[in-house]
Symmetry: C3
Subunit: 352 residues, 3 copies
């Protein structure tokens, strides 16, 4: 929904070079009309080589041109652009060929707008959108169909809520965000005090009165949820990229440029640094600190703070189930096994 | 929402046999009005025995009749039908007693329909549905309340989007699908190129211009998300069954008849074969190939391609936490332990 | 959305004592206007000390008053209240300062209400809400924007569906529930009978004709899904607290006061007792029984019934990835390793 192929963009390699720089070797015989993967690009498309593993595939590509690194400059004889970061260069070229779809400014007749809400004239509010009191909607903001924006929310310029997004009261969303369908921002954090006496009683809710504050250039994937703070706020930095179905607990802080893959769960009050990368389905328990530039592997459970940059992992390797059964049984007696080894070693020493 | 008990269906065992075949032993004294579990079925309901574990429970059933296999033909003296696949037979009988709910064709007055959209006269478009430009909606399609259908989407005959489903632009959905509430089809895949230099810079978005193509007879559970392809398409085969809260990354391909349980995450570009079964909360990393008839256990992380049919598992067995603490500590020194064993063995050999 | 700071509440410590009891030591010099964390509370806010770990932080707090336990009564000289359960006391005080937001009774003009639906005059039905036939909505119930309520649903007094909640036909929701955005209650359970013959055929759907029955005082987090029963019902007890993005399979039964953290998946037909606590991202396979007062650690996979109270864990500890690689490799040959140890031990015994 965010981008569409632009039918009238025709580019020579020289045009790309003028826009984005790089060293050009050769020129295409017909103008480029888009981008493609090495395997499927056509003669009118440009592709890229970032991973040397794909060098052999490059030989068979039908792409009209290639973006590659200095090291791979002679990996093809096709017209090409040589740059230090082929993948980022390719991203810019792809963006050029897929400019943002134009949209109509204005508020759909069916939308419900609260009292004292200020919606920029350049903004677009789609059908069945509910906007609360005192909301501020910036320039060129798009709020997609079926979204619900609570009281006193602010959404800065050029942000796009695609469809069916919910933002609870008082949350603040920065500029140039892309927030996908089904996202829920600012639901109550999970906070209850046990109030039981001899088995009687019930959980007492801690009112969740903090907010969610989201920086600029953030992307949030479909059905991801970010809870509001209990008393203080939940904070998402600038240029943070969250994939689908991530859960961010109350009072978490996520640093700039951090990237989190799908289905990750982060429990409350955990602080995550800058440029952290978290693999899919990982979990991080609450009240931890994860330092800058840490990498967490897929499906890893982080149970203690990680202050030193590097890659961290938990879990066991994949096995055929029969082998797993044989091996996993010993995990239940690993301590016994360790004791036996110690005893053997001791005996042997005695025997010497 | 999809089915309702049909109050006027009264069936003898003979009627079922006529419709669905099987060998009939005896006849019910009062007509059957529905299906039930072995434990709770009443005299006017029919039940089934598929798992021999439940044979002892069968003795106490109040069901009026039983569907069972050749092997279990004498496990009860009740009126019964003997078939090769009692569970599938039972499913057909249950479907007979719970026919699809009838619905009114037509477009609700509140629905917003885009330009050049073609909606079959037999289709039903509920309240607060938003349908984009150039959309094609087939015969008997139902689009439930609050759904958002992007531009140029097509939805084939007899498909049912229950409520609050989002389908992004250009995606194609086959016939006879059942898509549950909160599903998001075609949100952007997670693709960003790092564009940092000495700590400065930001992530460059790779425009996600592919589509999601979904086959026929697919069921998709509540709040599941299927991302659109980056350049090529994400493809879901025929008769694929996806449970709730599954995440399918961009450019994945899922083969016919594959069944995936709840909360599974599949990273981008992974190809999954036919008749694959994936247990709940499993994860599959990106760019892998999973062959036909592979079974992945619950909460298993698949980190490499699996070409051979069979069951695959990772993870550790459940333990009381105290035992786990004692055993798990050794996982951090398993390599040391292995060395010690090797040393002992060597010493012993020397000593011999 | 559920609560807002109440600007006119000004309380002395004595007022709190009058309302909630406890032993009072001293009095605030200026009235209390709210609650805060130990680190951030201001002079006009009250905080609490429940975890002795924070005793050192207490020295630096700017809070005007503190709630603490008998054991910690002298941990500060500030005005304070001494009680047996400081956290629960704090919760009550916080609730006092954040009373439920008032709302307007009535049905928004855009809402669609089915035939024979009974909506209490004190209830509030927001914009773009769809309510089916024969629905019963109790006193003071709030149904937030974009919610979809199926036929024959009942929702008891004082329950609040925040926004974009889907409740499928025939489900029953108790009193004083708080159900967050994106929740789906009553979607079809995942039940299909394989009906293949020599590779031909397809999955046969088992119609999911049971309901979801939810007790009183339940909270359900954003984007959580609870499937309807296959034939019998899925049942959620009283005072159950479910965090975000939880999946509850068909025919599960969850006992009173049980608390489940985010991203947990529970497969079908599992029975969970009372006061059970399940950590984030844990999984429980189907057809199990989990007894009262069991605690399941984060990301643990429960593969068999747990009848005895206590804490249970699976998984492996976090390691730097290099260490993990060295150690994890041995998990594939743990059985061999165990054999070697046994052989060594035997040899040694022979040698003795």
């Amino acid at each position: 929904m965010a981008r569409a192929p632009c039918e009238n963009t025709n580019m020579l390699l020289r045009d790309l070079q003028l826009k984005f720089g790089g060293e050009r070797l050769g020129e295409v015989t017909r103008p480029l009309e888009g981008v493609g993967t090495i395997e499927r690009a056509t003669e009118s498309e440009i592709t890229f080589l970032a991973n040397p593993k794909y060098r052999t595939v490059l030989a068979g590509t039908h792409a009209g041109a290639v973006i590659l690194s200095e090291k791979e400059r002679d990996a093809t004889t096709k017209p090409r652009i040589v740059v230090s970061n082929p993948y980022a260069y390719f991203a810019r070229v792809a963006q050029l060929f897929s400019p943002p779809i134009s949209f109509m400014a204005g508020v759909h007749a069916s939308a419900v707008i609260g009292s004292r809400a200020r919606v920029a004239a350049s903004a677009s509010i789609a059908e069945f959108v509910s906007i609360g009191d005192d909301v501020v909607i910036g320039e060129n903001v798009r709020i997609g169909a079926g979204s619900v924006i609570g009281n006193n929310v602010s959404i800065a310029n050029d942000t796009h809520l695609v469809a069916r997004v919910t933002v609870y009261a008082n949350c603040k969303i920065g500029a140039r965000n892309l927030i996908h369908a089904g996202v829920v921002i600012g639901a109550d954090g999970f906070g209850f005090a046990p109030d039981f006496n001899h088995g009687e009683g019930q959980w007492q809710k801690i009112p969740q009165t903090g907010r969610v504050l989201i920086g600029d250039d953030v992307e949030i994937g479909a059905n991801t949820t970010i809870d509001r703070g209990a008393m203080d706020d939940t904070v998402i930095g600038n240029d943070v990229k969250l994939d689908n179905q991530i859960q961010v607990g109350h009072n978490c802080v996520i640093g700039d440029h951090t990237v989190i893959s799908g289905c990750v769960g982060i429990a409350g009050s955990t602080k995550i640094g800058k440029r952290v990368m978290i693999g899919g389905k990982a979990g991080i328990i609450g009240h931890l600190t994860i330092g800058d530039d840490v990498i967490v592997s897929a499906m890893t459970l982080v149970t203690k703070s990680i202050l030193k940059a590097g890659t961290y992992t938990s879990g066991t390797p994949l096995m055929p189930h029969r082998e797993w059964l044989k091996n996993a049984a010993h995990l239940r007696r690993l301590d016994l096994m360790a004791n036996k080894i110690r005893l053997s070693a001791n005996k042997m020493e005695e025997g010497e």
